[in-house]
Subunit: 260 residues, 2 copies
DNA sequence: TAAGATTTGTTCGTATGTATC
DNA sequence: GGATACATACGAACAAATCTT
């Protein structure tokens, strides 16, 4: 976790190091110290008292610095004896949330997201063919089971929609290439948020579900058979139809707005 | 910027809302309040005093909460009259840094990264054909100019290597699809970090540069001509050779280690 | 169960720094 | 330069959580 890129300086490195508002600077200093000590996830940091000494700052400032690191997901803190702050490996969930904050201000379209899904998901599927354990395949099957029958209420419809995205999230979690897995998982999360908050599930779309689930079952089969080519193809088709249907769904909603 | 996903609760939503360590909870409350007020980037938040009243917490706690939001890149704060805290749209730089923290603990291989670059960069190139303004093309040309001549020192070699990644970063910044642009920019940043800190530039590789620069110049030409097909093809070749050369470079370094 | 030890969490009062007018 | 309006920082006391005995 090298220099946080908080300052815009690219050249004037050595010059004025301690210009930024204190707690941020202290947080960076702590970060550097942790790295220099070679601390790993789970290792314990010094207590507040020692920090105050080591960095020559008051308790409040040290605490603000720790909050910064905590907000970034880099440390966890517990009270009580044996408590204190501990180096923490940033969780995928946390990373997705933080990145979500960035995209909160940009408005991604369904098209933006599906452009990427169309490139990436098929590759993920292919890379996983023959590589999943039986319990992982079973997990996927269990999820697909949740939307075996068409939903009867809007609430159920929503839950099923979310579950089908969970299918992709789980699949992403099995990726060997963690960068690929993270991005796909992140997109699944964005789509989940969009689904819920833009009510993309609302006019229930029976076609989407029967088709979508059929593709997912075919995919599981291909993965179990170790058929990479087929897995890629199935996922590719799945993405293409999903995009078309989602965008139709979106259009449907807009129509609803206009006629209202 | 909905629920930060800090807690692992998926179901017990309404139950015990204020269990987490206080400042984090206050930060979340402020976040929710900002959203509920519909505040946008640049809008001003209440001063510390008013915050203390509104959230019923003392100055110290409010400050810690603000630090959390600041660390996430969601607010900026200034001192002085007319100062205070302001909603801030998370910058790309900040988002990349935060995401970098996540991957700091996972070790991505060059192969992981290039698998993605091979899929994405060609699509980016194609999507930009005929879409760039002359000044943007000029910027790219200026960057390519920086490594026109082979480097003579290791220091220069490093700078050129970094600059050639900057070429891709800039290109990513021009993307219409912001998700695509962000990911490509992020990968360029990771590669920059790897280059510098694993000294991937060290045994200067003349071949890499002459080839790489040639591809980039061809790419600019194709972009200027609005030739999407050619842009995609050139970038595709560029990525393939870059990966091969980078991995050879990495192997070279390992050899150096072993014989040392 | 209860007491005590340990470590973070929270508050308040005060003083200092900094940018604008 | 001085007044003003803000954030920034410090220190001491007290509260809460959690582990041990």
């Amino acid at each position: 976790m090298p220099g946080d890129g908080t300052d815009r300086s690219e050249l004037k490195a050595g010059a004025e190091v301690q210009k930024r508002s204190r707690p941020v600077a202290v947080a960076d200093a702590i970060k550097d110290w942790v790295v220099s000590q070679g601390l790993r996830g789970g290792d314990r940091l010094p207590g507040e008292a020692e920090m105050m000494e080591r960095f020559g700052r008051s308790k409040g400032t040290i605490r603000e610095a720790m909050r910064i690191l905590e907000a970034q997901g880099l440390v966890k803190t517990r009270t009580g004896p044996g408590g204190g702050s501990f180096v923490h490996e940033v969780s995928g969930e946390r990373a997705r949330a933080l990145l979500g904050n960035y995209f909160y201000f940009r408005d991604l379209t369904l098209h933006d997201i599906y452009s990427l899904r169309r490139m990436m998901e098929p590759e993920l599927a292919a890379s996983l063919a023959g590589k999943l354990r039986e319990d992982q395949l079973a997990t996927l099957e269990e999820i697909a089971e949740r939307y075996r029958h068409p939903a009867t209420t809007a609430e159920e419809e929503r839950a099923q929609h979310v579950a089908s995205l969970l299918f992709h999230q789980r699949l992403a979690g099995y990726a060997e290439n963690e960068l690929l897995g993270f991005i796909i998982g992140f997109m699944a999360q964005i789509l989940t948020d969009m689904t819920v908050y833009r009510k993309l599930y609302d006019p229930p779309n029976v076609e989407l579900w029967s088709k979508g689930r059929a593709y997912q079952l075919q995919l599981i089969e291909a993965l179990r058979d170790g058929d990479a080519v087929r897995a890629r193809l199935v996922m590719s088709d799945h993405m293409a139809t999903a995009e078309a249907l989602m965008e139709a769904q979106e259009a449907e909603i807009l129509k609803g707005f206009m006629s209202a």
